[in-house]
Amino acid sequence: MSPTPMKLLTVVAEAALERRLTADLAALGARGWTIVEAHGHGRHGDADGDMLGGGNIRMEVVAPPAVVDAVVTHLRDVYFEHWGMIVFTHDVDVVRSEKFKG
């Protein structure tokens, strides 16, 4: 086993953004992502899904630091002002790092 360091980026955002965010990720070089449905609370109040949408998604991307940096910058510039969103990152060890490279 030879774990390789990579970055894990986690984004919690309004579910309505899903299509746009995955398009952004692909454009910025991410090779994959994982999404789960979520609800929560933040500056924009409660985010509880009902028929009107209103729920959140929690999205994870494992990628090399440069890709993660580019994505974070993009998200901050484009979505932070008007959308419910938080972003955090940390290091992880992965198996078969070639899966995650551009």
């Binding site: 309505a16 746009r20 009902d50 009107l52 008007h82």
Partner: protein, 322 residues
């Protein structure tokens, strides 16, 4: 007339809405899972589309022309004057005014569905093709309002491009289900419809009641936003539907509709969208405050129409026709 209003208030559908409202206010966990609610919504739209399509398959095409034109007139003028009123009298920002105008220009399929149920209970006949007009009115008003909101300003970096908005509207689930149902009804006709009637027709009102229970919950959980919405919005959300209903009934009359048809046309005009419009506005005008447009449409105008509007507009229509 008053008995009609009372009957409307005591119908299982209205009462289910109230139960949902109460459940939200007492913070009960009584709740339809979102997945089931989405399925009920699809069911109602398909069912109403199917019925409209079958009626359309038997309608005299010439009878449809004028109502279609009247619908397009509504679709352009309603968002325009709503926008003007909200800017001048309401002092809303350009994007907030446009967002609200999109909602009041567009249409609420469920209000329309409840109106059909009400009309049937009252024993008033109507043109069967009316659901086709719902599908037609839904989209243009939203596009007009978006254009008003964006005019002369560069969109913020996070605004969806025009292509995205068109796609969102035309391929959106409300339009697809309604138009899909219409086309299926048109093609399959009465004999095809007979096969699925025990599913799409007989239990319809019961499903509507269950659906309204959940809408009541959604409205109830937004009631506390009313305070921040302000008095003007409450007035706008109750007066505007009555004005729109009057315009709609008049236009329907001029387009040659029967009293029942003109009534439904008035309901179309009076209702405010709370599924298609909020989704489109959130994507295309993200700077607009949902605390205004969702609250006004769902927590003010929808309950108003359901309880007071439905019988009131019928009185208005009957006054015009007799």
């Amino acid at each position: 007339m008053l008995s009609l209003a009372a009957e409307n208030l005591l119908s299982p559908m209205t009462l289910a809405f109230v139960l949902g409202l109460v459940a939200a206010l007492v913070r009960s966990d009584l709740k339809l899972p979102a997945e089931v609610q989405a399925a009920l919504s699809l069911y109602l739209l398909l069912a109403i589309g199917l019925k409209g399509g079958v009626a359309l398959s038997e309608a005299d095409p010439s009878a449809v022309v004028l109502p279609v034109l009247a619908t397009l007139v509504l679709g352009v003028t309603q968002p325009a004057w709503s926008y003007a009123i909200l800017r001048r009298l309401g002092r809303f920002s350009r994007v907030d005014a446009a967002a609200l105008a999109a909602h009041y220009g567009s249409v609420s399929a469920v209000t329309f569905i409840a109106a059909i149920a009400f009309l049937t209970a009252a024993g008033v006949p109507h043109e069967g093709f009316m659901p086709a007009l719902v599908a037609l009115l839904e989209v243009p008003a939203i596009l007009v309002a978006m254009w008003l909101g964006r005019r002369g300003s560069t969109p913020p970096r996070d605004a969806e491009g025009g292509g995205g908005l068109w796609h969102e509207l035309l391929a959106g689930k409300v339009t697809m289900a309604l138009v899909g149902g219409l086309v299926i009804g048109l093609l399959t006709g009465k004999s095809g419809m007979a096969q699925v009637e025990p599913f799409f027709v007989d239990p319809f009102k019961g499903v509507l009641a269950l659906f309204l229970l959940e809408l009541g919950r959604m409205a109830g959980s937004r009631l506390r936003d009313l305070r921040s919405a302000g008095v003007f919005l409450i007035l706008f959300g109750t007066v505007m539907p009555v004005a729109h209903a009057a315009v709609g009934i008049g236009l329907g009359y001029m387009a040659g509709l029967s009293a029942g048809g003109a009534y439904l046309f008035g309901v179309l005009a009076a209702s405010a969208s709370y599924i298609a419009a909020p989704a489109a506005v959130r994507m295309a005008l993200p700077e607009a405050n949902p605390g205004y447009y969702v609250t006004a449409s769902l927590a003010i105008t929808f309950p108003f129409n359901l309880t007071v509007g439905l019988p009131l507009y019928l009185m208005m229509a009957e006054a015009l026709y007799t």
